[in-house]
Amino acid sequence: MTDLGATSGCGVVCAREAPPKFPSMCITSDRQLPPSKRCFAPPALLHILHPSYRWCALPLLLDGRRKHPATHQADEGQRAAALHLPHPSKQSPCTHAHMSAVQRIRGAFAVPRKGETYELRAGLVSQYAYERKEAIQRTIQSMTLGKDVSALFPDVLKNIATADLDQKKLVYLYLMNYAKSHPDLCILAVNTFVQDSEDPNPLVRALAIRTMGCIRVDKMVDYMEDPLRKTLKDESPYVRKTAAICVAKLFDLNPSMCLENGFLETLQEMIGDSNPMVVANSVSALAEIMEAAPETNALQVTPQTLKKMLMALNECTEWGRITILECLADYTGADVKESEHICERVAPQFQHANPSVVLSAVKVVFLHMRNVGGDLYRSYLKKMAPPLVTLVSSQPEVQYVALRNIDLLLQKNPDILTKEMRVFFCKYNDPPYLKLQKVEIMVRIANDKNVEQLLAELKEYAMEVDMDFCRRAVKAIGQVAIKIESATEKCVNVLLDLIASKVHYVVQEAIVVMKDIFRKYPGYEGVIPTLCQCIDELDEPNARAALIWIVGEYAEKISNAGDILAGFVEGFNEEFTQILTAVVKLFLKRPDQSQGLVQKVLQAATAENDNPDIRDRAYIYWRLLSSDPGVTRSIVLSERPPIATTISTLKPGLLDELVTELSTLASVYHKPPNMFLGQGRFDADAVQRAAIEEQQQNARENPIAAAAAAAAVSGAAVPPGNNIENLLDIDFDGAAPASAQNPPSAGMSGLEGMAGTPQRVESPAPGQAQGAANELADIFGSSNGAAGGAPTMQPQQPNLMNDDLMNGFASLNVGGARQPPPVAQQLEQDPWGSSNGQGSSSANKKEDSLLDLM
C-alpha cells in the first residue's frame, strides 16, 4: 500500500503520523486481505482528514454495518447461517460517531424503494458474488441504453476491488462514464487503481493505468504521477505501451504536470524501445502532444529516432505502421540522401494487406520523392500505380477514401494512372458515392488513346436509372469533349444519341453541356435544330438559359430565332438576364425581324423587373442601342475567348497542402484542416492568414486582379482583427453589408451578397475605393480596346477574372474593391465546372453575358 497522502498535497497532517490507508481500500481489504492487514482509520484521524478522505470512509461504514466479513470467505452454503452473527465493526466507535453523516449521505443518494434502480442497487450490494456481477452487467446495459444510472455510483464502486477481471473491467467502464458527474466519489477508487498498477499481472497493471487516464477528473490527476512513472518503466511491453498513451491523456488534462515530471523526456526515450508497439504508441502520444502544444517540441525527428522508427516500421502491427508512416510524412528529410533512404525503406509497405498502410506509405513516398532525382522519382511514381489500383478493390468506404486521394494525386501528377482506366469503370452495384467519384477520376485520366472506351462507358451510364449519376455521366462527356479536341466530334455524336432518348433530365443536361462545347469549338452549328426540338421539354432554368444563349449566339443561322426567343419571353423569370442578352444579339444580327421584340423586352426589363442588375443591364443595352449600333455591335457581338476546361481543379497552393494530408479527413473533404475542425480552433486570425496567402497566390497567377486587390488594400487600411472580407462589399448606401454574418457559411460566397444587394451605379465611389475604381476602368478600357477578350488573362483563370469584371460592371463601387476571398469561398466558386452544378452554369452564363457587353 502506498502512502498517497504525501503526494496528494492534501491531508498532509495525518499523513506523516499515520499513513492514511485509504478507506476505500478498507472495504476492499476486508474482503480480500488477511485480517492482520485489515485496517480501519481511527475515528479521530477521520476528522482531521481532508473532506474527500472523509467521503471515502463512508461507504466502508455502510458496508460494515450490513455485512459480516466472514461471509466473504465462507462458501455459499454457510452464508445463511453466518448472516445472523453480529458484526464486529458494529461495536466500532466510528460507526456510531458517524451515524448522522451516514444518514445524510444516504439521503443524498436516496432512490425510490421500487423500480429498476432499486432492484439494481439491491443486486449491487447483494451478498452473493454472482448477483453482484449480474447487477453490474445490468447497470452497464442501462447505461448503454442511455438511462441515467449515476445514482448507483457508490454502490457500483463498492464492487471495484474484485478478483474477477471481467467484473473489474465493467466497474471501470462505469467509472469512466460517470466520473465527471461524481468527481468526489472517484477518489474512492484511487487506492484500488494504485494497488492494481502494482499487480503482478501485467494485464491488471495496464488496465489500471489505462482506466486512470480515462477518468478525466482533476483530482485523479494528482494520483496518476507515481503509477504512471512506474508503468512507463515497466518490464512488460504491454504495460509500457499502455502507459505511453496515458501520457498523452495526462497531457490533455494537465500539461504542466506532464512537463514537470519529465514524462515527455521519458516518452522520447521510449522511441528507442526494443518493442515496436511501444515505439508506435510513444510516437502517437508525442505526435498528439506536439499538435496540441507545438512549443513543447515533443516530437523531434533526429537521425537516431529516424533510424529507430524505420526499424520498428517493419516489425510492428499495421496500426503502428500507420503511426510511424504519418510521422515520417510530416518529417522533411535533411538532405537528398535521407529522403532516398526513407523512400527505399517505406516503398515495400506498398505491398501491405491493409489499405490504410498502403495509403500512408504512398503519402510518405510521394512527399519524400520530390527531393530525389529524376530517374528515381519516375520509378517511384511508376511503383505507386499498382497499389493505388489495388485500393479500388477494397471495401466501399475505404475505396471512397482511396478515390478521393487518387483524385488529388491525379491533379498533381495527371499521368500516373493513364493505363488503368478500366479499373475505374463503375460496377452496377457500386454505391452512388463511388460511382460519382469514379467518373470524376476517369475524366481526369482520359486521353486521346482511351477516350473511345470511356465514351462508350459514359454513354452506358447515362442510360442508367439513377438520375444524379446519369447527369454526371452526361456532364463528363462534355468535360471530355473540351479536354480532348480530337474526341469532340465523337462526344457530340454521343450527346445527340442521348438527346434522342428523350429522357428529360438527360436531354437538359446534354444541352447545358452542348453550350460549353460551343464555347470552345466552332463548327457544330449543325446540331442546333436538334437542340431546338427539345424546347418544350426544358423545365430547368439552367437548360433553358443554355438554349437561349445558343439561340442568341447563332441567331443569324436560325431562321426562326425570333419566334423561339419570343416563346421564352412569356415565361421569363430566372433566366431573364439570358433572354435580355440573347434578344439584343438577335436584334443586332437581324434588326428587321426583331425590333418589336427587343423593345418589348427592354421595356419589360426596365419598367417591370425588380432585379436591379437586370434593370441596369437593360438600361445599358438600351442606351448603347440608341446611340451607335456599330459600337454596340463591337461590344455585344465581340469574339469570346475559348474556355480551357470545365474540369474542376484545386488551386495549386491548396493542392500542395492537401497532398501532405493524404488519407486524412482533409483529403476526403478537399479542404484544408482548419476549414472543418471544431469551432474552437477556427479563429478569425486563421481566416485572415488564409486570405492573405490566397492573395499572394493570386498575385503570382493573375496580375490584374491582384493589382486591383492591392489598390483596394492600399486605399483602405484594414483594422487589425477585422475580417478582411468586409472589403468585399464596402457599403456606401448605409445598408447592412452582405457579409455581416461572420464568418460566411461555406455555401455562400461574397459574390452572391453583392449581386443581391441593391446598389446603384450612380453612387459615388468615395475615398477608399477610388483607386480601385480607376484601376478597374483601366482594365475595362484595355480589354475593350483589344476586341473583347482580356488579353492578359491566363487560360486557366478566365472564369474568375471575368467574374471580377462583371461585378465591376454591375456595381462599380463593389467590383473595384474586390478582394481575393478566403480559401473557402475560393473553393466554392473557383471550380465552377463541377463543385456546384446548378450555380456553376449560371455563373458561366454571367461570364458570357459580360463578354457580350464588351
Binding site: 441504453l145 480515462c214 518493442n275 504519418e326 515495400p348 466501399p396 468506404e397 477514401v401
Partner: protein, 438 residues
Amino acid sequence: MPVAASAIYFLNLRGDVLINRLYRDDVGGNMVDAFRMHIMQTKELGTCPVRQIGGCSFFYMRISNVYIVIVVSSNANVACAFKFVVEAVALFKSYFGGAFDEDAIRNNFVLIYELLDEIMDFGYPQNLSPEILKLYITQEGVRSPFSSKPTDKPVPNATLQVTGAVGWRREGLVYKKNEVFLDIVESVNLLMSSKGSVLRCDVTGKILMKCFLSGMPDLKLGLNDKIGLEKESQLKSRPTKSGKTIELDDVTFHQCVNLTRFNSEKTVSFVPPDGEFELMKYRITEGVNLPFRVLPTIKELGRTRMEVNVKVKSVFGAKMFALGVVIKIPVPKQTAKTSFQVTSGRAKYNAAIDCLVWKIRKFPGQTEPTMSAEVELISTMAEKKSWTRPPIQMEFQVPMFTASGLRVRFLKVWEKSGYNTVEWVRYITKAGSYEIRC
C-alpha cells in the same frame, strides 16, 4: 495521427444505441443525436460515408442491420478508421462464431465493451488480431491472479504475445502431425458489353493458409510468377524454365511476410501465425482465362412480351466441372408470366429481385447449354422511360482451375527441429462480379 477517434457507436437501423464507447471527452454525449437527425433521418444516408456536422466528422458503415459510427473532432486518418471498423467487425465475428448483427451485439455487450477497451486506447487502434486477443480475453473471462501467487505463468506470457516481435505467433506449439493447407481462391471480375467485347476483366486472388506446425517455422513460398522466377534464375544464374509464367499486377501480404525481403529478393518468406489466415492477395489483368462465355439475346416483342435466349459456354477443360452455377437475367418489374425451356439445370422467375434465375448444379467443361424463356408483361400505364436493362450476373465455382494460371511451385518449411511437413494445395476459381450487359 492514425485515428484519434473520439467515440464509437453501434446503432440499429432505427437509430437506437446498442453500444457506445467514448474514448475522448472532446465530443459531447449528444453526438449520436446529431448523427440520427442529420444523417439517418435524411436522404443523406448512403450518399457519402464521411460527413461533417459542426466541428465533428462522422464516419459510418452499415454491417448487416447495424450502423457503426466513429466520431472524430480532429483531422483523423479516414482510411485507417474504416479499416479499423472492418477489422473490429471481423474480430467480433470470430468471437461470436459468425454472425454480426443486432442480436449478437445485444447478447455479447459485455464482451464487446471489453474488446473495445482493448483494441482502441484514447482513440488509437491497438492490437486487433483475434489469435492474440483470444489468449487473454476469453468468453468466460480470465481470472486475475489477484489473490493467487504472483508466479502465475500463462497470463504474463499472453501479454508478451500482444507486443512481441513475432506478435502473431505463440511459442511452444506442438503438433503431432505437421501439416500446411494452401487454398488458392481466385475471383474473376468481368464486365462484358452486349456485343461480347470485354470491357473490364481482372482476377483478384488470395492465398489462404492453414498451418498446423510445431515450433517457430520459417516458410518460403514459390509461385510461377514472372518477377519471382526471373529473380530466381538471376540468383542461380540458370535460364528460366519454359512454361507459363504469370505477371502479377500487384500483391499485398499478411503482416507476417517480410516486405523488405520481398522487395529485394522477390521471395515470400514468413513465420506463419497458427491456424487459418490470409497469406497474400494479388491482382492480375493480363492473360485471364475466362471460364464462361455468355451469349444473351433479349428481344422485346411489343409492349407486353419479351423473348430471352441465353447461351452459356464453358471454356475450361472437358474433364473439369463447375459447381453451383447461377445465371441471373434481369427482367422488367411488371413481369407477369414466364415460361422456360432449358437444356440443363432449372430455371425460374424470382419476383423479389426481378430476375430469371437459371441454376445448374454441375456444369462440365466444354459444353454450352441454353435457356430460352418467354416473358409476358403487364401493360402498365404509358411509362415514358423505356426499361433500362441491368446486366446479367453470374455465380460459379470451378475447382482445380485458376483463371490466371497461377500455380504454387514450392512451399519450403524450415524449423530447427527439422520435422517433415505435409503440404496440401487446392485451387478454386469463383465469380467476383461477373457481369454481362445486355
